[in-house]
Structures are given as C-alpha cells and as structure tokens.
C-alpha cells in the first residue's frame, strides 16, 4: 500500500468529497440522533432496572459461551481450510461463510427446521435425550454461534495463511506430532489473529437478533438478550428504554473497536 503513494497536493476532488461527506453522514447521524434523544436524566434508573440488567447479564453470558463454542469448533475448521489439501475445501469455505451474508432471521428459521421439535434432529434429540433447544438459553448460544462463528473462522484462516508454514515443518522434522505442532507452534503463532477473531465473534454474538428471536424466542432471563429487549421496548412504545439499550450496545461496540485499534493502525 505504501509503495504506490504519489503526491496529490492534498486537494480532494468535489466528486469524491460530496459523496464521502454524505456517506459519513449516513453512518454517523443515526448515532448522533440517539445521543440527542437520549433520556440522560432517566438513564441511571433505566440502566439499573431489572429488565435491562437481566438482559445484559444474559447477553454477556450467551455471547461469551457462543464465542467459546466458536473457538473450540471454529479454530479447527480454519486450520482445515488453511493448512490441509483436503478435497472440497473451497466448497467447505463457502458453506461456513454463508452465515456472513445470510439474513440472521433465515438462520433462525433454518435452525428451527433442524433443531425444532419437528425438526430433522430436534425430534430425535427430544425423544431420545429429552433435550430441546428452542426457547432455551442453549438455543440462544447456538443461534449466536451460527451467526458469529464465521467471523472467527475467516479471521483465523487469514492469520494461518499469512504465517510461515516452515515453522510447522521444522517442528515436524524435530519429531513433534501433528497435534503437538498445532498446539505448541501453529496456535501461538496465530494467537493475535485468534484473539481478533474471538473479539469480532463476541461482538457479533452480542448483537445477534434475528436468529435468536426466531429460533430461541424471547423470554426475560432465558432468551431475551439486549437486542431483543431493545426491540420489545420500541415495539411496546417504551422509546426511552430502547434508546438507552441502543447506547449501551454502541458503547460495547466502540469498546470492541478500541480493543482492536492496534490492528487497525497498521493499515
């Protein structure tokens, strides 16, 4: 990127300036609007209300659980995609990244068709093991993992592709097993990528709405996470609570971006 830099005398063509100002306005104005409409005086009361605290607690635990699940399952998937010559790899890559572009509601419907009571697996799970995921906190975690895991996979795969494989080869020639090599050499070398992926995954899980409400429903303390609580608030005419919840989510998003700032500055 730095190699192609030429002098442009700092002059920005109007044809680029105007649309970029509009673009920034589209991105920034909604947040400014929230700040302007925020019920600052009621903010402490709303933030400390039972409904908000319950939703916050649920959101933090489910997003963390979904991230843990994504790490356990997603890092190996990323490794398969980046480091093996397994047939059908590009198909696999396509399949696992589909949720990135899929409307989350569709994900929720799909999950319901599989894990719902009359679903392909859900019926069997219910009868054989007495396990039923819809309308449970575990269902929320599954919905969030469905939507958020691809972020982790993409991030970790990118990191694996850009690190030097020769360290792995050296470890192997020194007699390390494939598993030991993965644990002791590969994983530490991509740790920053894994961390970045986990942070993105967590943020995405925290913001998940569509798949959750469709698959897991909405009940305080069990399945009603922050975004669902915000939707219920605006749907039932409680704009103040909706705004406060929105600000809370924005604060978390900003915190995530700040946490990842170091990776941005390099660009």
């Amino acid at each position: 990127m730095t190699g192609h830099r030429r002098r442009t005398d700092g002059r920005v063509p109007v044809a680029l300036l105007v649309p970029s100002v509009l673009g920034v306005a589209v991105l920034v104005l909604p947040m400014v609007g929230l700040l302007l409409r925020a019920p600052w005086r009621r903010l402490p009361d709303i933030l400390s209300s039972d409904a908000v605290l319950t939703a916050l607690r649920l959101s933090l635990t489910t997003a963390t659980a979904a991230t843990a699940l994504s790490l356990v399952c997603g890092v190996p998937v990323a490794w398969l995609l980046a480091r093996t010559r397994m047939p059908g790899r590009s198909l696999l890559r396509g399949v696992v990244t589909v949720p990135l572009v899929l409307p989350p509601v569709i994900g929720g419907i799909a999950l319901l068709m599989v894990f719902g009571r009359r679903g392909v697996l859900g019926g069997w799970l219910d009868e054989a093991l007495g396990v039923s995921l819809p309308f449970t906190t575990a269902g929320v975690v599954l919905a969030q993992a469905f939507v958020a895991m691809p972020f982790l996979i993409v991030s970790v795969e990118g990191a694996l592709r850009t690190t030097d494989r020769r360290y792995d080869d050296v470890a192997a020639t020194l007699g390390a097993s494939a598993w030991t090599t993965f644990r002791r050499v590969t994983l530490p070398s991509v740790a920053p990528g894994v961390l970045a992926g986990a942070v993105l995954c967590w943020a995405r899980a925290l913001g998940e709405f569509g798949a959750t409400v469709t698959f897991a429903g909405s009940f305080p303390g069990t399945t009603r996470t922050l975004p669902l609580q915000a939707y219920v608030a605006i749907g039932s005419g409680d704009t103040d609570t909706a705004i406060v919840l929105s600000l809370l989510m924005i604060a978390v998003s900003v915190a995530v971006l700040v946490a990842m700032r170091r990776r941005w500055v390099g660009a």
Binding site: G116, G217, S218, Y231, G237
Partner: protein
C-alpha cells in the same frame, strides 16, 4: 510480512463491515402488501394516489382482502399495509411516520397516538375480537383449558403484555385465576400463531380470528367466558396524512359495509 499484515487487517475491516450490515438487517419484521390495482367500473375515480395504512398484525387477512376490494372500487388508489404490533405502530405514528391511516387492536395503543396529537378527529371503533386458546393440530399437549398454561412441561407462547393481545391475555388469565408459565413472549400475535402451527409450542393465547386464519395446522380449545375479555379495534386518519382523501376513503370502507363484511368473514365481532 508487511503486505500480509495489511491484507489481514483488510479482511478484518471487511468482516466488520459485514457485521454492521447484518446487524442493520436483523430487525426487519414488517409485512407489506400491494393490491394489484385491477381495473374496475371507474366509480370514485377522484380518489387516487398512495395510502399507507399502519394496521395491527391481527388485521392482516381481512385488510389484505379489503385492499383487493378497494382496488376494484378505486382503481387509481394504491393501498399499502404495514402490519405489526399495535403498540409499535402507535409509537411509529407518534414519532411522525409518514402514514395515512392507523388501525390498532385496542384503544390503549390508539390513545398513545391521540395523545401525541398525530390523529385527525376521534378514532372510530370498527370491530371487536376475543381470545382463543390455540393448539397444534391433534393437540399434542392435551390442553383442555387456560389452567393448562400453568403446566411447566408444556411449551407456551403468550404475547408481550404491552401489545394488545398480551394485555388481553393477561386480563383473561387474571379472570381465570391462572398463573401462566410462558416460554416465550411474542411481539405480535402472528408470531404466536406461527409457533403453534409449527408445533414448537403446545398452546398459545391468540385472537379467535388468528386461530381461524391459520387453517388446519391450528385447533382451538374452548375458553370459558372468553367473551368477557373483548378488544375494541379503533381506526383513525392521521393528522398529517400525505393523502387525506385517500385516507378517508379507506377509513370509510373499513367502518362501512365493505369492512363489516370482510371483518365478519374473518370472525371479527361487530362494534
């Protein structure tokens, strides 16, 4: 390594962008329908343009039919419906949504819009509705009455207490002295009905009309004295309606003979 690092950051930026998109697309739960505007005899040709109607989710079927009939009556009029929870619609209206007509599933939600001063004149009640206990075909949970909603092993859906069907459900359960144990609180009545027709819940308290509109996948269980809890459906023209003539034509149709017929067909009670 420098180039590789830059690419990695680029991917992350892209991924964040996608994340934002997904978040933005997540909450769209609006339904809209466009009547086909088929040609007709040309009476009332002066009524034209677009009319946007914000209507309670429970009015979906009768209002869509009404829209088709209106297209026959006013060929130049294009009526667009936005169905959703009444409380949310009233809030949208109060916030200045560019709509022409507001129809809610109870008077409490309409009052929000009236108090905000966004309604023209006094809302008119055009229909009434009662609740029913909806169960999936075959009644897998052996639900026999509202008391079963307290059974822990059953999956139960009830509307959010602040939306009209939830307020009505609360009133009905109070009267029956039942402490219900719902597993999910839906934001509108249609969501509860689809959970029943999917078999994901064993029972849900919904409007009689919605249970009827759901077809064979849904059965109803008798609720003793369900008639004691009645929702009045008011309709009003918005004060800042972009198309006041069209709005009045729609409200007249809703409150007139056409509306009465269509609503009665769907199982609504007369006001």
């Amino acid at each position: 390594m420098r180039d590789a690092g830059a690419r990695r950051v680029g991917m992350l930026v892209q991924a964040i962008g996608v994340a934002g998109l997904l978040v933005a697309c997540g909450g769209d739960a609006e339904g809209a329908s466009h009547p086909d505007g088929s040609p007709a005899d040309g009476s009332g040709a002066r009524i034209s343009g677009e009319v946007t109607v914000l209507a309670a989710a429970s009015l979906t079927e009768p209002f869509e039919t009404l829209g088709e009939r209106l297209a026959d009556r006013y060929p130049d009029l294009e009526v667009t419906f936005s169905f959703g929870p009444s409380s949310g619609l009233a809030e949208q209206a109060a916030a200045g949504a560019p709509a022409d007509v507001l129809a809610t599933a109870n008077t409490v939600t309409m009052d929000t819009a009236v108090q905000a001063g966004v309604v023209d004149g006094t809302p008119r009640v055009f229909a009434r509705n009662t609740l029913a206990l909806a169960v999936p075909a075959g009644n897998p949970g052996n639900v026999t009455g509202p008391a079963d909603l307290a059974r822990d092993e059953l999956r139960v859906a009830v509307c959010e207490p602040r939306v009209p069907c939830g307020a009505a459900a609360e009133a009905l359960l109070d009267r029956a002295g039942v402490e219900a144990a719902p597993d999910t609180l839906t934001t509108d009545v249609k969501e509860a009905v689809s959970l029943v027709s999917l078999g994901e819940v064993d029972a849900a308290l919904v409007y009689l009309t919605d249970a009827a509109a759901a077809g064979d996948a849904v059965e109803t269980v008798d609720v003793p004295r369900a008639g004691a809890v009645v929702n009045d459906y008011p309709v009003a023209v918005m004060a800042d309606a972009p198309n006041p003539d069209g709005a009045h034509a729609v409200v007249d149709a809703v409150t007139g003979e056409l509306g009465r017929d269509v609503l009665a067909e769907a199982g609504f009670l007369e006001p």
